[in-house]
Amino acid sequence: MAGVPLAWYLILSAILFALGIAGFLFRRNLITMFMSIELMLNAVNLSFVAFSYKFGRVDGQIFTFFVMVVAAAEAAVGLAIILAVFRTRKTLAVDEIDSLKY
């Protein structure tokens, strides 16, 4: 039975990672930027699981598990920070958050 080349999974992962980078660089809304980071982490997870399949071992999936935990922790803290910023400035646009300059 012919399957899907493993490389396709990795290329898909690379595409999603690149999309995440693009989102982070081009978007101006804090929450969307943060979501782009989540997209990147998801792409990394796909790579881990694909490699885990490649080696027929479970350790890649374990790494994915830890990445998920970390992503959840980051989400909690990140959104709390975004809330705090919004509270003092009433904006989510990243270029309007620029009080720190010379």
């Binding site: 804090l30 694909a50 080696f55 920070i81 509270r87 003092t88 958050i97 009080s99 720190l100 010379y102």
Partner: protein, 490 residues
């Protein structure tokens, strides 16, 4: 359950400092809600005790060198050195913040447990021998640092700092992870030593370009964390906006731990392909020094000035990493130790001079400081001279060992450019000195204020350590030398 998975007593002893720190942080957390608002400082004192016990634990676990938890962590001289360093930075930061946090956000005592957890994460980074552990340690340290940077949540500067640190830090983490995924895919392991072994054997080595790409991705992530060019953009804003004691901590603790990880990864896992990453680091080191120093020239805000200076110092350290030798690693360790003290000292001065709400941060606020508060000004002079690299200070020997290691590795051009950079750097430090000693204070400056005991202790201690390192460098250098060679044992 197979018995060999149950951690042995030795395993636990090797992890003792981290365990102590986590326990101290947790107990601090439980303690915090039991305290009245005016007594929240008690968690600080408790955390201080925890950090000191952790320092003792480092000494204990030093007696049990080796790997633990199925090669997940390794206790060697290198790890012990960095553990000691980050815990020491933690202690100084706690002492420095005792009065500050009481003044700026008295109702909340979670600051100190967070700091302790962050230090625990950095210790894990120092001992991590496996990318999973390093990654989790890095995240513990980073996430706690994001929170600390934004700790004064009603202050727009502080939460802006937290936000920028968080966004760019997470972005960097994603790169680091992608690199880890690739190296796992290429070698089938995440253990640094095993990666090194596989890469060293050409017959089973995966394509060099794959290994190189993964190394590059991981380096991008770490470069963000140490604020190396071209990923230094966040540092100035973050350091300027964060509460001054936190800035002192960020520039010393997390940065040292990130360098520890960088050195360990490069020297253990990617040692065989040194030829591939050395040129890359060469450029990064040069760019970091130059950008840091030249940007610092035009700063008027003292925190921003020190932030750029911190970037420049990361550049010097990168020169030593580029040397790719035992001497280079030793120089990294020595320099980070010296830098930690002078940096914490300098920020202690900033904490004192800035006053409540951190309003007095421009260079003109330092004008005439020597007349108003001669002791503070004198100690600040020591730190600034050390940052320049004047003999008899720790900074001098730091730079000396770095450039010596660079010369031994035949990085002549980089050494020359580095020395030129140091000369440029002297200019902006001297600007501060001139302001302190020769400028008249601007109209309406406030009268001198007594230095709080905490700040005073940090000032005198850091100054003492800076001078000690400048006069008897071998004390620490021996320690560093042993650590550096251990990191390379195959």
């Amino acid at each position: 359950m197979p018995a060999d998975f149950i951690p042995s007593t030795q395993d636990l002893l090797r992890l003792l400092p981290e365990a102590v720190l986590v326990a101290a942080g947790t107990i601090g957390l439980v303690l915090e809600p039991l305290l009245r608002d005016s007594r929240k400082r008690v968690t600080g004192v408790f955390s201080l005790a925890g950090l000191i016990v952790a320092l003792w634990a480092v000494v204990v676990s030093r007696a049990y060198p080796g790997t633990a938890f199925r090669n997940m962590i390794v206790v060697d001289g290198f790890a012990t050195f960095f553990r000691t360093l980050v815990i020491a930075v933690g202690i100084l930061t706690v002492i420095l913040s005792l009065h500050y946090i009481q003044r700026e956000r008295p109702e909340s005592g979670e600051f100190y447990p967070l700091l302790v957890f962050s230090v625990a994460g950095q210790c894990l980074m120092a001992v991590g021998n496996e990318l999973i552990v390093i990654f989790i340690g890095l995240e513990i340290s980073s996430i706690a640092s994001y929170i600390l940077a934004g700790y004064l949540r009603d202050d727009p500067r502080s939460n802006e700092s937290g936000l920028k640190y968080f966004l760019l830090g997470s972005f960097a983490t994603a790169f680091f992870l992608y690199g880890v995924a690739w190296i796992y895919g290429a070698t089938g392991t995440t253990n640094l030593r095993e990666i090194g072994d596989i890469i060293a054997k050409p017959e089973i080595r995966p394509p060099l370009v794959i290994v190189g790409t993964s190394a590059a991705l991981m380096l991008v992530g770490l470069a963000f964390k140490v604020a190396a060019a071209p990923f230094q953009i966040w540092a100035a804003d973050v350091y300027q906006g964060a509460p001054a004691p936190v800035t002192a901590f960020l520039a010393a603790g997390p940065k040292a731990a990130a360098f520890a990880v960088m050195v360990r990864i490069l020297m253990v896992a990617f040692d065989p392909i040194g030829a591939a990453w050395e040129p890359l680091l060469w450029i990064v080191a040069l760019a970091t020094m130059t950008i840091g120093n030249f940007a610092a020239l035009v700063q008027d805000n003292i925190k921003r000035l020190l932030a750029y200076s911190s970037i420049a110092h990361a550049g010097y350290v990168l020169v030593a990493v580029t040397a790719h030798s035992d001497a280079g690693s030793a120089a990294v360790m020595f320099y980070l130790a010296a830098y930690a003290f002078m940096n914490v000292g300098a920020f202690a001065v900033v904490t004192h001079v800035a006053r409540a709400g951190e309003r007095r941060l421009s260079l003109s606020d330092f004008a005439g400081l020597a007349r108003r508060e001669p002791a503070v000004a004198g100690l600040f002079t020591i730190f600034l001279l050390s940052l320049i690299g004047i003999p008899l200070t720790g900074g001098f020997f730091g730079k000396f060992y770095i450039f010596k290691a660079a010369l031994e590795s035949r990085l002549y051009l980089l050494t020359i450019l580095g020395l030129l950079n140091s000369a440029v750097a002297a200019y902006y430090y001297l600007r501060v000195l001139v302001a302190m000693y020769f400028h008249e204070p601007a109209a309406g400056t406030v009268e001198a204020m007594p230095v709080t005991p905490g700040v005073s202790f940090v000032l005198w201690f850091s100054a003492g350590a800076t001078l000690l390192l400048g006069i008897f460098p071998t004390l620490v250098l021996q320690f560093a030398d042993q650590g550096a060679s251990l990191a390379l044992v195959r």
